[in-house]
């Protein structure tokens, strides 16, 4: 922490992260990366994408909270950033909702092209 030697408001606001914390986060991220690569050797079936995304999200949380300083930051910045991920989730989930509907089985096919083609014959 920065020393406050009777400094005025708005000065000496820096919050240097302690080195053990930085090292610890880096080691944790490396370990999680090794785990991610290692789990690829096992067949977890359809769960693998979930496992992989959970590990990636833990890593993302570590990077966000400590490297990006969000754990000690003003709440407004945290809200901005996490809010963006809410919208990303909405975007992707809602798009995948009608993923089936973009399948031809679910779309009534009006054979316009075929009709046009047969008009030649």
């Amino acid at each position: 922490m920065s020393a406050h030697e009777g400094s005025r408001e708005g000065y000496d606001f820096a919050h240097p992260l302690p080195l053990p914390l930085l090292f610890g986060v880096f080691v944790a991220l490396t370990v999680l990366t090794v785990i991610t690569v290692f789990q690829a050797n096992f067949d977890l079936g359809s769960y693998d994408i979930i496992v992989v995304m959970i590990i990636a999200s833990i890593k993302a949380l570590l990077v966000g909270a400590f490297f990006m300083h969000l754990a000690f930051d003003k709440p407004m910045n945290v809200i901005w950033f996490t809010g963006s991920f809410v919208f990303v989730a909405l975007f992707i989930i809602f798009t995948l909702f009608d993923n089936r509907a973009s399948h031809k089985d679910d779309i009534p096919v009006l054979n316009d092209t075929v009709a046009a083609a047969s008009a030649e014959g």
């Binding site: 708005g10 606001f13 820096a14 240097p16 930085l22 966000g64 901005w80 992707i92 031809k104 014959g121």
Partner: protein, 422 residues
Amino acid sequence: MATTDAGHAATADHSADSHGHDHDHPSYLAHHFDTPEQQFDSGKLGMWIFLVTEVLFFSGMFCAYAIFRAWRPEVFEGCSQFLNTKLGAINTGVLLFSSFTMAWAVRASQLEEHKKTAILIASTLSCAMIFLGVKAIEYSHKWHMGLLPAGLFSYDPNNPHPEGGPNYLAYICAPFAIATVGIAIWLVVSFVRGAKFQFAVAKPILVVFLCFFVGVGLGTILESGSGGEHAAHAEGEHHDASEHSADEHHADEHSEGEHASEEASVAEASPAESGEAISGLVAPGAMVASDDNLNVVKRLASDNTNTGLQSELAARQAQDEMSYGAITYNVSDDSSATVASTEDDVMRKSRAGVFFSIYYCMTGVHAIHILAGIGVLIWLLVRAMREDFNKNYFGPVDYVGLYWHLVDLIWIYLFPLMYLIR
């Protein structure tokens, strides 16, 4: 990049201000801010908003990934075999380490450890360059094999490493080589002219640019030591062999256009030739027959009682859709011995090609972000060596750090999604 020979004391008040309250307004504080903290928080909010736009911008590509993977999971499994997990994992480690040195650089700048700040920023830069060097190996190797975006995809399992072709690696390395030579010249010139500060700045930047070639070397070693993407060569071969066989060239049901599309998807290397093939294609969904048979079938099938001809028409339609490479086609047919249920060959333009389109788009835009990061980090390095930062003014280091961590975040998700699919 403008550099000055004079380092200047960042904390010196400057009396050149005309707005009268310069007695307590240090030089690093813009005149429209009251306190350094207010200045820092304003800048940080702006940076966060920019990062939000970045997240949303990347999410579009993740969305494309999600849709195509939901449609064709087997394509992702097949194509992921072509990505070298070792290279991806090494790059992940390199990028995580660069994130760590960047976070440490922010700490050092807050503690006014100027030399340490510069060293840590230079380390971050070096890691960024190693990352790009490894990427250059990855890209050039894939381009050589024809594992290209959909329109250019020309991979042939029977001939995975075609002879000749341009030396892609040389083309990628050329700009970096030119820049390295330029910086070396700058280093010598600044030394001869006795420009001490320029010389001091050029030294670490030269090391940083040389790190690109360290990355290329690292990538080469890892690439040669693995048969990762060769394991996939066996896949789809049975399919391809049948597609290539000459007795396919019977023209009763297959149109010329269908052939063109199938041939183009496997064997054509030159864009000009494939362009000709594409111009010969018929519109998707418009079945073309060389005789009037098809029209008769269509007319008869329009009668609802004629179920036999209706299913024949459906079968032909499914065949046609498959041949022009629809991403999704009609699989409503519940019988198992139809074209709709045959195993799909994924090593085609409309399958693997789309996967590689997504791969190049996502990793390419990420690499562009790394390049942009290198640009701002060099600016930061110069400022750190000029000792611009102090405990009340470290905003630029912090903001660039945030950007760099976001680029790292994107890669944290990209790596497992691209490289670790089984």
